[in-house]
Point group: C2
């Protein structure tokens, strides 16, 4: 037998018991005639004692133990003289009577402790050692717990988890599809799903009524900061529903998770239209943990001879509360920040509300004290506040001010990772203009239903058509989104036409779905949450990589197993393929 | 609002309520001035009534409804005059006050009823309609329920569900790997996992202690009768355990599932060694729903001048109880059965135990009545029994008799799908000889631990080395299996050597795992259950295809979405690949 107990469960109530423990050597130290060894497993740490007076050779053995050795010990639970109140086992120790080394360990390439000395690269190469660290493992325990709670909640709401295929159809639209050559069908390929979208819609046509799946999805694209080629979605769909039903159901899921995983009562999740989100935050995923909403100033700042404002389409600002004490240097840093090429602003205007109520701005020569007081009023500013104002074309300046708002909030410590502010953003536009291809693309996806009252605008003002589409945002991070779908064949054809598909293309790619719509498709809609992202928010982490057991790096490589890798020519031949790498390079 | 209730919940307790229902038209009929429409959803069927006396135009609308139209009705719950006790809603009907057609339906290509007129091909092409049939949907509801119960049980046993990567490393050994070209790493490929084997072992090295995952796996191979290129495993691993711990834990899971899903108390699961299974059933996955164990007859049949027996390595038979009345024609059919090329026997000897206790055999001229009585005794035969005997080389004749045993049991109605006989088969051989490659292969996989007492035989008698490996068999179907793993680097190297890997190959493919073993790998083991197979057993079905929402056909094709399919040349170029189909064909 390898153990009678884990390393996390023995307490004073076990005094005198004969026990067997197995685990890893966390550390050991000598003190007089004694050796103390901390043995660790997933469940905790227990202190072992070896005493020369009792058994000289056993103690000698113990002194040979290195860090991360795997050992099995038998012994008696005794009370500890110097107790450690920080851990559940801190009041006892094991007086060891026998010790067996189950496996030795080389010296690990970094320390296996909460705060490690290992850099990202080495920890990824030895991910199996990195995963031994409590802080890393706890993220995955959290992930497990969240998945369990999600399934519990959705099961209680009559959702059925249905597995949809991983080997699906490659489509010309699927520029970011991973493809999989088929040996049995030479020259043909499967694709890995970017989402189970069409399958879940077919399940609604099938009358499954409520579907969900926690499912891997795949996207072969340049991996920006925090993307992974394979990621996990909480994918859901409901029939006979309107947007309101879906928002309520998944608000329920969100609340359930916060309550049962983090013991937080979330309260009602506010809703905001896309238009309002852009106007008030310059973003479709506003961080609402703090205020600092945009204040539009055109009415009061224009016509006073300051050309930057007079020539701008929009003058808009934020109030950084209690920040009038920002030094010139700090203000210059903010200006430098918005002038960075990624943001691209030309400058930043500021105004301080002094202790005496007077306002001092960087453009005083254009504005009287009385006029500046109007600024202050517009912001609802108080003594000690700092007003930060930008000007430009509407869309651009909103984006720029959004960046500044987040940056300033970060500086002011307003982005508290222990605080959670969820928000539904609704009424997204159906289409967005793509400069590169010079045509409209579906903002969500081609199956999203336009709002019935906006369908008439499809021809005349496609950019103004709103969709029954919605996102859940928490702390400025898009957790997921969805839409009410089209369930009418003709409307779906019309959508494909507006998205630039020829009827033949539409038929070839999505003929099966459009045909399904002719056999009694119910009204339906759904959403998908990014599970990796949701877990990282719950864990208070910035990166999804920290909540994935074996993540890939920015080049899509798993450096631990060294993948991807070359394959044998014979294998390629079996797949009716040849490498053409040179051609690629010379392009 | 689309509905106040589902189509499965209204009863007499709702009498007089105003309700709204949505669903599909199952059928409709006219009777005098009335039209009755059955409306169906996932939850049930409710009868709607339309009366010309009340509203002539509404009834006219109702008469236009076709099968599978999607409708929404409002009305009042009233008591039914002719009640249907077979369904929960059978005592009420809805007197409809308004009717809305949410979507029309063309006439479906087959009838959407439990017994359909649609053949396999047409049902697969229109799988979304096939899934509307209760019998098909119920299989997937069962699957959902089983997955929930599996997770509940394993969670209660401290197992953590950890997602392992789908994009992993292709290995030269992985002849059946699906590969995935990487756009970011031209000329390199990922592979899809045939199982998460190495990752779950690494999680044990990481101290995760107890891991599970319900996970898609992939195998690119010729699809025999009941295989799928993508299939689902219940994948599990435990640290600090011996075989006994694993068998107990997963016997617990099996019992839990039978109890909570089928309300069956399974009792203790018997265990049998591989050697006994081969000796008593000629199979490592015996169907133990019925007896009919093999009886070896060498001692009593040899040396009586019957050359077939005298020259055979093994003479072995089964007792078909109460089957002495088999006609000559039936017996000839049995002989023909075992002579089929797939089975390849040269003949079948039989002996009847008559009502008077005398034994009449097909080889009477070689054996006296007294000698035949000894046969009867060996089988423990009673009046009316039929003894079926085969002869040949041990391994072959056992396999042949196994086929006959199953065939006869099928004929005798002994393979009852409502009966469940689980069995652990243990002590599998570590290695099996492969005729094609003329070397030993790992019977389970290369990470399986030999029994310590047999390691010494690795050089001298590799075929006799037993492994700490086990299978769970239910009703003659292998549900899953596993093993205690090697956790010692040197032993793992030795295994690779015996499996014909050069040290370089072993290092290239599994270096990361062997290195992990040098950093404190605990003793560990685990197993994987075939989830599709387990669900099909629970559902009393022969094929796993019936428990998969969107299965592929024998050519690995999804005929509904028409996948796999060709992809654009531009897409191939982006992947640094070229098709080489001609070369393949001319090989």
């Amino acid at each position: 037998m390898h153990r009678t107990h884990t390393c996390g469960e023995l307490t004073l109530s076990n005094l005198g018991e004969q026990v067997i423990l197995s685990g890893w050597v966390q550390k050991s130290r000598d003190l007089g005639g004694m050796t103390f060894v901390d043995v660790r497993d997933r469940y905790g740490i227990t202190q072992l004692t070896f005493n020369s007076d009792d058994d000289e050779s056993l103690r000698a053995q113990a002194r040979e133990l290195g860090r991360e050795f795997v050992i099995k010990v038998a012994g008696t639970v005794i009370e500890r003289s110097s107790k450690n109140p920080k851990i559940p086992t801190g009041e006892i120790e094991i007086k060891v009577s026998s010790l067996e080394i189950l496996n030795k360990s080389k010296l690990p390439p970094f320390t296996i402790e909460d705060e490690t000395d290992g850099g990202e690269d080495i920890r990824m190469k030895y991910r199996y050692l990195d995963l031994r660290r409590n802080s890393v493992r706890e993220n995955l325990v959290l992930r497990h717990k969240m998945a369990q709670e999600i399934r519990k909640y959705l099961d209680s709401q009559d959702f059925l988890e249905v597995e949809t295929p991983v080997l699906i159809k490659s489509t010309p639209e699927g520029a970011r599809d991973f493809v999989v050559p088929s040996r049995m069908n030479p020259g043909e390929f499967y694709a890995l799903p970017q989402s189970p979208q069409t399958f879940k819609q077919l399940l609604m046509v099938s009358g499954f009524d409520r579907y969900f799946q926690i499912v891997k999805c795949f996207r072969d694209e340049d991996l920006r900061a925090d993307r992974q080629p394979e990621f996990t979605q909480i994918d859901c769909e409901m029939a006979f529903v309107e947007q309101e039903d879906i928002l309520n159901t998944f608000e329920g899921l969100t609340k359930h998770l916060f309550k049962h995983v983090k013991e937080i009562d979330l309260g009602e999740v506010p809703r905001m239209t896309y238009a309002d989100a852009m106007r008030l935050y310059g973003s479709d995923k506003p961080d609402t943990r703090f205020g600092m909403q945009f204040v539009e100033l055109n009415d009061i700042v224009k016509g006073h001879g300051f050309p930057v404002f007079d020539n701008a389409e929009l003058v808009v600002g934020i109030n950084a509360k209690n920040s009038a004490s920002y030094t010139r240097k700090q203000l210059d840093a903010l200006t430098d920040y918005v002038k960075r090429p990624q943001i691209g602003a030309t400058g930043l205007i500021y105004a301080r509300v002094n202790e005496d109520g007077s306002v001092k701005s960087s453009v005083d020569k254009f504005y009287s004290e009385e006029q500046l007081q109007k600024w202050s009023e517009a912001f609802g500013a108080e003594k000690g506040d700092l007003l930060l104002i930008m000007a430009g074309t509407t869309e651009k300046v909103r984006k720029q001010l959004n960046e500044l708002r987040l940056y300033v909030a970060q500086e002011l410590g307003l982005r508290d990772k222990q605080k959670f502010s969820p928000l539904w953003v609704i009424d997204f536009p159906l289409l967005e203009w793509d400069e590169d291809s010079e045509r409209y693309h579906a903002m969500h996806h081609p199956f999203t239903s336009p709002k019935p009252e906006d369908i008439a605008l499809l021809d005349s003002k496609p950019g103004e058509v709103r969709a029954n589409a919605y996102d859940l945002v928490i702390n400025g991070v898009e957790i997921g989104g969805g839409s009410i779908r089209i369930h009418d064949r003709d409307l779906q054809s019309l959508m494909f036409k507006h998205l630039g598909f020829s009827p033949e293309e539409a038929q070839k790619q999505f003929g099966f779905l459009m045909e399904a719509f002719t056999y009694g498709a119910p009204p339906h809609g759904g959403l998908a949450f990014g599970f990796d992202r949701l877990v990282s928010i719950f864990a208070g982490l910035d990166s999804i990589r920290d909540v994935i057991a074996f993540p890939k790096n920015n080049s899509g490589r798993d450096v631990m197993i060294d993948s991807p890798s070359s394959i044998a020519t014979a294998q390629l031949e079996e797949l009716s393929l040849a490498l053409d790498v040179k051609k690629k390079n010379s392009n």
